[in-house]
Symmetry: C2
Subunit: 328 residues, 2 copies
């Protein structure tokens, strides 16, 4: 008789959040990826064209980790018409030594949002300029908020600017965030104005045409792009990526296939110095070394991060006595 | 507030088995695969070399089906030393219209065993000779039994023979099956003797070297090979596959990568007539048309079958009031 632990979004929200241990858990997987030690197959995608949907499956085995997370992310873009969120998902954790399912995490995408936010903080920790910063976010959704909040874990965010396709969304975001984070935040009229005002920018949109061009870059700027995770998506103009002093991504293979490196390669350009985030975590001198460099980090999201955050969440829930056990 | 239905192996064993509706459910997916209408990405595999294990993930969206199954199969080959079964797994079913997780099926691999058995029956229905038959099974495990029992759904199995690497396993299997199926069954000394005695043969082993050679074939024989599902596995000699009058497989892409077509292609041979099972289901004149043909069917196992059996199992459990609802 086996038993599986069932954890709900509510359990998981009590167990993990934007904390130092979570940040460390996410940061520590990048060197494992970059050293080639993760068993991390390419993302599996099931298209559901009739319902404008897709399911993406990510997973990774990390040596020494007790569990292997298998994450199913659903993006069904007709859902809002039905009063449902577009994005959702769940994770299953299997025991690394026996393959036996240990936990089912019905998180509705919460852990993905969280680890993506934390990944932005890891990038900023090694690449963002220092001192009192102005942060900018492109997009006004959950991930825009998480990028701002995560950045505050590693840098002194004095103020922020936000741009979104719908100005009313940007205004609402600015009001909400000013209240919750206690910093002044202004909506701006266009992406160029946002970049002119900001030291650190996170792009968090599903854009399929670049929003941010090479001409908008300025010395000292750091950009983290988290939106592109499919062949059809692109937030940064290829020239912008190619002109960065340091270009970093979570996985060169994924960024080339699904992220911001795709357009660069397709246009025949090259990136002066393309690194994986794990290389920079292992050797911070590969990251920002001067105040006037332009740095860009492209995050497509990895199964290794899912295994890392799920492992921590399972352990925390266990310590806190959260969840339900089902005899199988 | 969403809710997910949790079904255990015990629930699922009460709900589905080797029945006609189950057989129809499995048969009906093959034409969908062969017409290219299934969204069925290649199998995702996560290797766990430290623990001699792997996790295989299969999935498929089938137009018109209410659910999409994502199946995680675990094979951890040090488990027997720990008193645990090598194979296990679970499935998750997501709603095809919204992507929302509907059910978690903690089946420990039961549904995979079942749909693989039923797939053998679909192959035999279209390819096995008719009349009173002698069935042969290579291997003496769960799948050998299921192949025999499934065959009895579609043909008159008068007697059986069994060969296994360990003779004591074959003897035990023969005793058990004679009791449970009520037919005479004999263990035989080698695969050649098994083929000489049998009209229909199922090979169900994880062999990495061919067990069955071209010289063992005889007119009228049908073989279903269910063992090979990885680059390293092979049950049938390439010459045997190439010399069949009709060669059928569940998916030509998968058989070429992971099944019995791999060795054929690698050796530079060709198969006179390689069909997908769905083509034969749609047009039975493509299957066996005379008593003296040699037919071979290679089954590597598809995500479409998983979606089919999971869909039926979920509906049956619902009708029978089986399972537990978890609010997420």
């Amino acid at each position: 008789m086996a038993a599986i632990r069932v954890l709900t979004e509510s359990d998981l929200r009590k167990a993990v959040g934007l904390g130092q241990e979570e940040l460390d858990a996410i940061e520590s997987v990048y060197p494992i990826i970059s050293r080639g030690e993760a068993s991390m197959p390419p993302i599996m995608r099931i298209d559901v064209p009739e319902h404008n949907g897709e399911i993406d499956i990510k997973s990774a085995y990390l040596p020494g980790y007790a569990g292997i997370a298998v994450k199913m992310s659903a993006g069904f873009f007709d859902n809002p018409k039905k009063g449902l969120p577009s994005l959702g998902g769940l994770m299953v954790v299997l025991d690394s030594e026996t393959g036996i399912p240990q936990s089912a995490l019905f998180d509705n995408g919460f852990l993905t949002d969280l680890r993506t936010g934390l990944a932005g903080a890891v990038a900023a920790k090694h690449l963002a300029p220092r001192g009192e910063l102005t942060a900018g976010v492109v997009g006004a959704g959950v991930q825009a908020l998480l990028q701002l909040e995560s950045l505050a874990l590693v840098r002194d965010v004095a103020r922020a600017v936000v741009w979104a396709r719908r100005p009313e969304a940007a205004s609402k975001f600015a009001n909400d965030v000013a209240g919750s984070m206690g910093i002044p935040i202004e909506p701006v009229d266009d992406v160029a104005a946002l970049l002119a005002a900001a030291d650190v920018v996170a792009t968090t949109t599903p854009a399929t045409e670049p929003l941010l061009t090479a001409g908008m870059l300025h010395p000292g700027l750091h950009i983290t792009a988290v939106g592109s995770d499919a062949e059809s998506k692109q937030e940064l103009e290829a020239e912008a990526v190619a002109s960065a002093d340091v270009f970093v991504c979570d996985s060169i293979a994924q960024s080339t296939r699904l992220g911001e490196l795709r357009a660069v390669k397709e246009s025949g350009m090259d990136v002066a110095k393309a690194l994986e985030l794990g290389q920079v975590v292992s050797d911070p001198t590969l990251g920002r070394v001067s105040d006037d460099q332009v740095t860009i980090c492209d995050l497509t999201g990895t199964g290794a991060q899912d295994t890392a955050i799920a492992s921590l969440a399972v352990r925390r829930c266990q310590e806190l006595g959260l969840g339900t056990t089902i005899e199988t």
